[in-house]
Symmetry: C2
Subunit: 303 residues, 2 copies
């Protein structure tokens, strides 16, 4: 669909005029009246799914249950390697959730900053943004407030700037990142956080995202908020202890969870996206006609 | 700033080419290097703030503390009047939180659907969208995925479509709405919900938003998630009881909370917005240069 413009028009007017028709008629390889999310999932094929890679899956055991994190070594290789080293040297075992800031993040690590890092790196290069050249990318057809292009790569939400050939992971609900101090190379993966509120997109390109929670997110999001500055727990508050963190590959196969994530480069995932752009169940009267990258669920299921 | 385009260009390319320069140079009435949010708040004047209207403020008392809700009679007058009638007839007292769906909503009301509604209306017109003609509007300069224009009106996030002269409240974190069944006139305010996750913007224009939580949001967001369908608690799960809900005007003045909200039609609020578009503290290395309507805090303070 062509949107004819007059040379010299102001961009602002142009955006307003063009955005709606463009959105309404963006072509997706799906039927005109898309099915609901449940229907899409029910009709999915085995090839639409792939098992979590045990070598890049973490199990964090809390008293309340197990949190499963899928790591993103393709986007933050040095961070992921260091986190796995910390995990394998039992760094996180016995530590605790130390910060829960409402509508922002739940963070865990060593609140006292006394536990030795073992053989792990103390400092890592800033893996906040990377070349988009060899990154698979399934674009979302709708505009984004923060980035020129947004979409999905592997099992992750991602943004791109084609003018500079760069891409970065996006801070959606459930994404996991590695805390740092003011120095961009001060992070090392020993302090991790998960997004528990409105996508804090201002963090994009400022900090390393290293994965996302694919199971147990509610255990991190429902914790009492900390009363200290930035939601850190004070000494008097009860911190949820971390019993253990393990790489799934190090757990005996019968103890692993048989989780699969939907591939985002499939026609079925395009139908998932469309089911969210235009809700078709009886309750919705005005389909939005578009969707934010952080409002698209990247489905996870148990085999 | 003019963005010159070539006649016949596709809109998609145009959006990608134009969006960045437009955003980078959007004019706001603030200094080139804006102060941080803390600095803006510290420099605010008394006239930047206004007290909550006691007649349109609700105190919901839970065992864990008090939730304060500012109602929006200017946008949903029939709903707000009905909710106040229910409150004044003690409808909510002794009911409970009945649903907590992770990354979506916390909902309260009568899970058993047996409590009489008293003199309140059983059905209300669909106050989902309204004329924008007489609505004050402070626009946000950045694009939105879901609406042609977004901004603020009174103490609320709002969207507009100038082509049809209509506006609607936006489902941001902490916004409070009134549940309904499939029939658009089936809502009456006896079932209320607050948004506890990523802004579910697909609900915009489909349901009545009636206000927002201005204090105690963390009490609603940190509750255990329900294990039933849609996050409803099952019979075996402990529901957080609602001890009472009161209109602030009905509470003796010494029992009221002296809360104020920032006016959104002020230069100070424009500086709040700019402080969020471009973070200036030492931690941020790449200011986003823009902000989503749901990432702008509308400040609340105690007098």
């Amino acid at each position: 669909m062509l949107c004819i413009t007059t040379r010299g028009h102001r961009c602002a007017a142009l955006l307003a005029l063009c955005a709606m028709p463009l959105l309404a008629t963006a072509q997706l390889p799906v039927a005109r009246k898309p099915p609901t999310l449940d229907a899409v999932l029910a009709a999915s094929k085995p090839s639409d799914w792939e098992p979590l890679d045990p070598e890049n899956t973490l199990y964090m055991q809390l008293a309340s249950g197990r949190v499963v994190i899928l790591l993103a070594p393709q986007f933050a290789p040095r961070y992921v390697a260091n986190i796995k080293r910390l995990v394998r040297e039992r760094y996180f075992d016995g530590l605790a959730i130390e910060r829960v800031q409402d509508d922002f993040v739940t963070q865990w690590g060593d609140a006292d900053h006394t536990k030795p890092l073992g053989s792990a790196e103390r400092s890592l290069p800033a893996e906040f943004i990377f070349s988009s050249a060899d990154i698979p990318f399934t674009p979302l057809p709708d505009p984004d407030t923060y980035a020129p292009e947004v979409g999905f790569s592997g099992s992750f939400p991602i943004a791109r700037d084609p003018r500079i050939g760069r891409a970065w992971l996006v801070h959606c609900y459930g994404m996991v990142g590695a805390g740092r101090d003011d120095d961009v190379e001060s992070g090392n993966g020993s302090e991790l956080y998960a997004v528990i509120g409105q996508a804090p997109r201002q963090l994009d390109r400022n900090i390393a995202l290293v994965g996302r929670v694919v199971k147990g997110m509610e255990l991190l999001a429902s914790l009492p908020r900390g009363s200290g500055p930035l939601g850190f727990y004070t000494k008097s508050e009860r911190r949820m202890p971390i019993e253990s963190v393990r790489v799934a590959a190090d757990v005996s196969p019968d103890q692993r969870l048989p989780l699969e994530v939907m591939r985002t480069d499939t026609r079925t995932f395009a139908e998932v996206v469309e089911s969210q752009r235009n809700r078709r169940d009886a309750w919705y009267k005005v389909p939005a006609g578009r969707v934010s990258v952080c409002n698209v669920p990247i489905p996870v299921r148990s085999q």
